[in-house]
């Protein structure tokens, strides 16, 4: 459990106790090297490397199936989504661009689009809105990071505490480590074993949520 009540100031001192040790011992699962899936996609793109693809497949296919079961609620459609998604990963690996985001993000967008078009196809309207209309394939320029700096100072405000508690757990954990334990983005990425880009994204999302929550209380 997170002690995010620290934001209210009551537990500010006890919070400073380092929590690192028990974090270090948790990896019973084989460690996933950062950049592993991105490299695998490159091998598939360049050489149609079946071994690299098989590794990607054995990691992502069962997870995509779990995702599909959540979205469709039935196994047959979930598996159809897994197969279409992983077939696209095989065929279109050349379109993956690591500078735009990590492999899991790319695979998520393929699965999302496959699912969207599966549901639309059932209604068989060919002029209809398609996944290609809706999602731009990440073609937007990067924004600068100024917004996070501005909010840094606001974060200690007591007003934010209840909203901080209401953040989705994954975002709250990252915020906790960066703003309360004062770790660098890279340290958080190493410690939680998630890509650096995901750490930054979760921080920005949490800040956006907090900003929205504050706007709502103001008006």
């Amino acid at each position: 459990m997170l002690e995010s009540t620290a934001l209210t100031g009551h537990h500010a001192t006890s919070q400073a106790t380092p929590r690192m040790p028990d974090r270090m011992t948790i990896s019973a699962e084989p460690h996933i090297r950062s950049g592993q899936w991105e490299d695998a996609l490159t091998y598939v793109a360049v050489n149609a490397d079946k071994a690299a693809y098989a590794e990607l497949f054995s990691y992502f296919a069962p997870r995509l199936k779990a995702f599909g079961m959540k979205m469709f609620g039935n196994e047959q459609q979930a598996l159809e989504m897994v197969q279409d998604t992983m077939l696209n990963v095989w065929k279109k690996a050349g379109l993956f661009d690591a500078s735009r985001g990590c492999a899991s993000t790319w695979i998520f967008t393929i699965a999302r689009n496959v699912r969207f078009d599966m549901l639309r196809k059932k209604q068989s309207r060919k002029d209809d809105v398609s996944a290609d209309d809706l999602w731009a394939d990440g073609d937007y320029p990067e924004q600068e990071e100024s917004a996070s700096d501005k909010w840094e100072t606001m974060l200690m405000s007591e007003k934010l505490a209840p909203h901080f508690d209401a953040l989705p757990p994954a975002q709250r954990l990252v915020m906790q480590k960066v703003y309360i334990e004062e770790k660098s983005h890279q340290e958080v990425s190493d410690e939680l074993d998630i890509p650096l880009g995901t750490v930054k994204s979760r921080i920005r999302l949490a800040l956006d949520r907090l900003r929205e929550a504050l706007d709502d209380t103001r008006s």
Partner: protein
């Protein structure tokens, strides 16, 4: 872009958009907003990263059929990979012309806008339906300079995305990229300025109801806006 977008879809709509669970017609308005709004482009990228990480963190589904994934894997790798998968080429930008004005259409709306229906005009206001609508009615809405849309109540939800120009109502001023969301029972009187017309994307879940004086006579015409 000189105009800073002020009215955004909000986190809940953005999340549903990224998940692909938002109704297609509403998603079309959100996607078009994102094309026009650098802030939401970043937000959208962040949400995708977050969802991707969540996918990678899922507990894998346990299969009771051992060969299920093995068969799938060998089927897939038996397919020919696409070596020179060229990125989608930049589509020519689409424009819509009305009242001797040519409007550039954002990417997300291009394919739909090309298929817009006939313009129907009533005073300074004109609409053209888009084929997108399913449960909701999706149309382009043109409002000439110095025109007021009579005070009306929404029987359903109304999304209006400004594509070009400027529109004002009791709550503020909206420029290109701004997304107005009106819930059922919200009442407003939108109007354009005397020197600037306006093109919007309108998504409606139910007809408008006109409230005041003689314009109540418009109510039989409410299908016009719908």
């Amino acid at each position: 872009m000189t105009h800073a977008v002020k009215f955004h879809p909000g986190m809940m709509l953005m999340e549903q958009y990224v998940e692909g669970t938002l109704a297609a017609d509403v998603a079309l308005a959100v996607a078009t907003h994102i094309d026009l709004c650098p802030h939401c482009q970043q937000l959208c990228q962040d949400l995708h990263n977050d969802k991707g990480a969540q996918l990678a963190e899922l507990t894998p589904s346990v299969s009771n059929n051992e060969s299920e994934f093995a068969d799938m894997l060998s089927f897939i790798t038996s397919q020919a990979p696409v070596f020179k998968a060229a990125r989608k080429t930049e589509a020519d930008s689409v424009t819509v012309t009305f009242n001797d004005r040519e409007f550039k259409i954002p990417r997300a709306l291009s394919r739909m806008a090309k298929q817009h229906g006939k313009w129907l005009q009533l005073g300074g206001i004109a609409t053209a339906k888009l084929p997108a609508g399913e449960k909701l009615h999706v149309s382009l809405l043109y409002i000439d300079k110095g025109t007021e849309i009579p005070n009306h109540t929404h029987l359903g939800m109304e999304l209006t995305l400004v594509l070009s120009g400027r529109i004002c109502d009791e709550n503020g001023e909206y420029g290109a990229g701004d997304l107005l969301i009106n819930s059922p029972d919200d009442t407003h009187t939108p109007h354009t300025r005397v020197d600037e017309d306006c093109l919007c994307l309108s998504v409606l879940s139910a007809p408008l109801k006109f409230n005041k004086g003689l314009v109540r006579l418009l109510n039989p015409l409410q299908q016009f806006f719908y």
